[in-house]
């Protein structure tokens, strides 16, 4: 990821949530691509599930019909009728229940949303209510499914040579209007989100990383394992960089890729006027990180902050 993209992209989707404790929490809106992906995954799951279910019901139904010997005079036997009812009701329940039950659950996300790492939340930091979840899911029908199904039927009709007139264009326009809806507002809301007062956010999943200042040369008395020397930086050397550079260095140390470490080692040495050696980059960087952070945090406690090397 280049620097410009990293700096601009998260800003556009970043929102702040104020908890009742008065704490500002950063929140990232889910990207439109992630949401489309989640919807497609959910659709595939529902459709495959329903097809498999219908297939089983079909097999059962045929078994029942064989039992009465396909006699057209005879009415549907009770068992066949029961199967029809079950399939209609289960179809309805799967269609609405799949989204409702999962989004009302503690994760606030369907399986597709979980897979792409997003969840729904009440806009503006309120409590997510069942009514909101119901509203946003009822609206999904007219946004996507009704026009889509109607279009499929129309395509079927016109392939049989029937004249469908301008209806196809109307339906396509309808579908496009709602599909493109999230592109016309800042918060990527679809129509259902507007009516329900919800939005879709990314679900952060970070693990607690190891403490850096207890390992290697970053500790108080830490010395290089290779040379046994302790790197000590003076006032002048530590006053060059700011918080931004410190956190970049932290990321590099955690990733610990030798090439990157070497390059950064050379850059820092050039900047502070040291002669870059070779072979002991990690210890140097750990010591530099530990001492720079110690200095910046000490300043912080006195209310002095240095955002980056330019400030």
């Amino acid at each position: 990821m280049n620097k410009a993209a990293a700096a601009i992209k998260p800003d556009k989707r970043a929102r702040t949530l104020i908890t009742p404790e008065g704490l500002a929490l950063p929140l990232t809106l889910a990207s439109r691509g992630a949401r489309a992906g989640a919807l497609i995954i959910d659709m595939v799951i529902i459709v495959i599930g329903l097809i498999a279910f219908q297939w089983v019901m079909q097999a059962l139904f045929e078994g029942v019909m064989e039992g009465i010997g396909f006699d057209p005079q005879q009415r549907l036997p009770g068992s066949a009728e029961f199967l029809v009812i079950i399939s209609v009701l289960i179809g309805f329940a799967a269609w609405y229940g799949y989204f409702l039950v999962q989004e009302l659950g503690p994760r606030g996300a369907t399986l597709g949303k979980r897979l792409v790492g997003i969840r729904i939340a009440a806009r503006g930091g309120g409590r997510l209510t069942p009514e909101a979840v119901i509203a946003r899911n009822l609206l999904r029908d007219i946004e996507v499914f009704y026009p889509l199904i109607a279009l499929l039927i129309l395509i079927g009709l016109s392939s049989q040579g029937e004249d469908v007139g301008a209806l196809g264009f109307v339906l396509t326009g309808w579908l496009l209007l709602f599909l493109l809806f999230p592109f016309f507002n800042r918060d990527c809301l679809r129509a259902g989100d507007i009516v329900a007062g919800t939005w879709v956010v990314e679900r952060p999943r970070t693990r607690l990383a190891a403490v850096l200042s207890t390992q290697g040369a970053a500790t108080a008395e830490g010395a290089s394992e290779v040379t046994g020397v302790r790197y000590d930086f003076g006032e002048a050397e530590l006053s060059i960089y700011g918080e931004r550079e410190l956190q970049t260095l932290e990321r590099l140390l955690r990733d610990s890729q030798p090439d990157a470490l070497k390059a950064v080692h050379a850059t820092i040495c050039r900047k502070i006027g040291w002669d870059p050696g070779a072979g002991d980059e990690r210890a140097f960087l750990e010591a530099f990180y530990g001492q720079l952070r110690s200095r910046l945090e000490a300043d912080m406690r006195f209310g002095k902050r240095k955002a980056d090397k330019f400030s």
Partner: protein, 359 residues
């Protein structure tokens, strides 16, 4: 985009023992090491809560959770002022956010919500839409009249409203006996329950459509109501020609009082959203739309239930009960029940379980 979601599914739980607190050179890292245990405990409880089932969590953990949440939140605000460890800050932000979703998340599951919905929430939501219901009722009556007048003026309209299938008896010019036969009962209940299931599917789809179309300022909802009721008006005209209005009304009333009531409510719910978006009042449009959407969603869940009842009534009593008076009794009872339930049933709001009116 962040990729490593799948990795979080595997390798849970192997947590390295935290290093000795005194070994940390930095004050901010000592701060972190002192509190890390609480954070990890909170994370563990959260993971179990998210996996579902509060039953699997020990009571002690459940009681400790709000306190742990506040600990983590205060750790975060302290760390923001004292620590430059980006990894710890990121972890804490994510942790507090996850905990926030659980602590301030949906307080009730579907079952509890549904109970409060049946016992008060539903009728409250319906009452809060009274103006829209009045408008929708007016539109429905107007639609019926329009249907009647259209067909009375020109019979060709009848065929436009009901594209006649082969063997359809209900066409202009049909004799009294033919029309009466369409109102007759079935001899047995065979096949009727499958019929009911299909009716339910169709009717609830129409209702959800009427609701969802309210998004376009309510106008398509009203058009849908007019169209549906024009069909009824045309049918009334047809039977009136042979002096069968009372019989038709009885036949329709069995399920019609429930079904038309449901259609009325769904049209009103759609109209409510549209009207609120057009005239949001003092609130911003988005907030007003959200509040109206939540109120209407409650009504819509009720409409689906009404459609189930209507389909059952349509399939069984209507096809099996003979006689005008018997049919009127069933239809009238249902209408009286719904009116009583929506207008007179006003239980006190228990706790904060109020769903409908509070939004």
């Amino acid at each position: 985009m962040k990729a490593p979601v799948i990795s979080s599914w595997f390798g849970r739980g192997q947590v390295a023992a935290p290093p000795d607190i005194k070994s940390a050179a930095l004050r901010s890292d000592r701060f972190r090491l002192e509190r890390e245990g609480d954070w990890r405990r909170l994370e563990d409880i959260l993971a179990r809560m998210e996996r579902g089932g509060l039953r699997r969590i020990a009571d002690a953990d459940l009681i400790a959770m709000p306190a742990l949440y506040r600990t983590a939140a205060s750790s975060l605000s302290v760390a923001r002022e004292t620590s430059l460890d980006a990894a710890t800050l990121g972890y804490l932000e994510a942790l507090v956010q996850r905990a926030w979703f659980q602590v301030y998340g949906p307080r009730q599951g579907f079952i509890r919500w549904f109970r409060s919905f049946i016992f008060g929430g539903w009728s409250r939501a319906v009452r809060s839409l009274w103006l829209d219901i009045c408008i929708a009722l007016f539109v429905m009556v107007a639609g019926t009249v329009v249907g009647w007048l259209l067909v009375a003026r020109d019979e060709a309209w009848y065929y436009r409203l009901f594209p006649a299938g082969v063997g359809e008896a209900r066409v202009p010019g049909a004799s009294r006996e033919q029309l009466l036969a369409t109102l007759a009962t079935e001899n047995s209940a065979d096949g009727l329950s499958a019929f009911a299931a299909q009716l339910f599917g169709n009717n609830s789809a129409v209702c959800i459509l009427a609701f969802a179309l309210g998004f376009a300022f309510g106008i398509p909802s009203l058009l849908l109501l007019v169209h549906n009721m024009a069909l009824l008006g045309a049918l009334l005209w047809l039977f009136a020609g042979q002096g069968l209005v009372v019989e038709l009304a009885a036949w329709l009333s069995v399920h019609g009082t429930t079904e038309l009531f449901g259609i009325l409510l769904s049209g009103a719910a759609g109209l409510h959203i549209g009207r609120t978006m057009a005239f949001p009042g003092k609130l911003p449009v988005l907030d007003a739309a959200a509040a109206a959407g939540r109120r209407s969603a409650v009504v819509m869940v009720g409409v689906v239930i009404m459609m189930i009842i209507a389909a059952l009534l349509e399939a069984f009593p209507r096809q099996l009960v003979e006689g005008t008076s018997g049919r009127f009794v069933i239809g009238g009872t249902m209408l009286a029940f719904w009116l009583t339930y929506f207008i007179l049933y006003r239980p006190r709001i228990a706790g904060d379980a109020a769903g409908a009116g509070a939004a």
